[in-house]
Amino acid sequence: MPLIPKVGRKKISMRFLMGTITAVLWLGVALHLFPVWWMFTTSIKPSYEILKFPPTLWPAHPSLAAYRLFFYLSAGGWDVLQYPIKIYMKNSGIITAGIMLIQIPITALMAYALSKLYSPRWTRLLFLICIGTMLIPMQVSLIPRYLIMRHFPFPTRHIPNIPFTDIPFPHYNFLNSYWAVILPSIYSPFNLLLFKGFFDTVPPELINAARLDGASELGIFRRIILPMSKPVFAVVSYFTFSSAWNMFMWPLIVIQKNKLYPLSVMLYKFQNILQSQQVVPAEPETRRLLESGMSYNGLMAISIIESIPVFIMFVLLREQLMTGIKLRGFK
């Protein structure tokens, strides 16, 4: 509370100012919460109530039909509706977990090595190499990454032979698998900056002392650095989690099978079905589904389901996040 001094708080003008600020902030909170509230109430409204105007703030006959329909969807649906939503949930989960489990250790160890293990000259060069990718927008490497994923690690279909033999180099098509989504993001320059900024603040005496005691480098990292750097790990995992969970464009490109879509893509496809259904009559299966009460409430139900994990993540890491953001790498 630095802007308004404690002494003058009782004055009318100060009170007015304070009141205005408070009002603005609560208004902001209300505006922010409104879509969430809308999403939630819509998801438990029965379908005839959804398009009613004026809209009801709380459904007259709340029902969990939208949620139920999704968890027990049997085969025979159409497009993305073939599978129950838990499949997509699982996809999103696997992709996110994969990215977090691979990316965070790699990036942390890289940052630690950069920060503590190399001589200054090498550090500077390696650091520039690592950070350089951050300046280049992700869209530049979008298409090459797609091509590389198709015949990993070669960008074209023309694959050279191993010298002096007729056997082509081993290659693998990662498209239409979780790996296609996970692999390109196993390294993140942004997180590297965060980690390095934090590791730079660790006093080198600590590490030297541990070395004298005979600890191995990995041991030092695990025993000394890890316990110290909880906040920065919290920040990084929150960012990584939410960006991996919200990833849309990349999965849309590399995954063509309905069964493997993450939730965000599934939501988009489902939304398209709803939209097109207003214009042309959809397939009988879809129509049956829509007639049985699936419309915006279903959409909103998935939206809620999609939002929950991010929220849980935030609540779990909240304390650490608040204390942990010290973006020293930002310069």
Binding site: P2, I4, P5, E306
Partner: protein, 268 residues
Amino acid sequence: MACIVFGWYPIGVALVVAFQKFSVVRPCTYIGLDNFKYFIDDPTIYISFRNIFYYAGLNIILVFMVPIFISIFLMEMRKSIIRIMMILWFIPVASMAGIIIWKWFYNVQYGLFNGILRYLGFPELQWLQDENLAMICLVLPGLIMFGPGLIYIATLQGIPEELYEAAHLEGASFFQKIWHVTLPRIRPIIAMMLLLSIIGNLQVFDQPYVMTGGGPNFATYSVVMYLFDIAFEQMRFGRATALSLILFVVIMVFVIIQRKYFKENPDI
């Protein structure tokens, strides 16, 4: 290692592919600058670049400032209130869910906004189907779904309170304090966030792709959407890569301008 394989290798490939007529089946042939020349006469690229500049500009004018001021104001509250508000603000909406609910709000027939307008007796608007309005509609959700930036909060907490007391003793008013004490302190962060936001906004894809699909008469067609269409609809990877390099050069210009003009440190 990971950095090289997934960071630099694609970029090297990009540089090569951009100059080739890339074909999935036949070996690639080198065609020089033809991929770039194609874009000179292409009206779509001008439209899409105009669109992303418009989008980024709107975003920075309308949306970018909000979290800064919210964070500054938030610091005035009592600790307990800060805590409650932060949680409420960070009840997150997964990005796709947020886009979808807004698309529904904008729906001409069933949407909430037209419902309200109808109820109040105003003429209905076409929202996302209106060429002039569509872009603003894309930006508005950001205005509502904002929250205080965690980064700003963290920086604000680091400002020593003595500075404010000193400013107060010298008779600085409320807004003078914000202008002379707070803003200079968080300026490096603002500059950084501004840069990131420009870079991010110029590459916008999700919102226009989902909400308007390019919009009425290309009004919201972004460069990355164009790139996506060239590459994955027409299967012309070489040309798409050339476009991505053009986009990269444009973004780079912004980065350089930004680095030139925001290099001051408040403590010196």
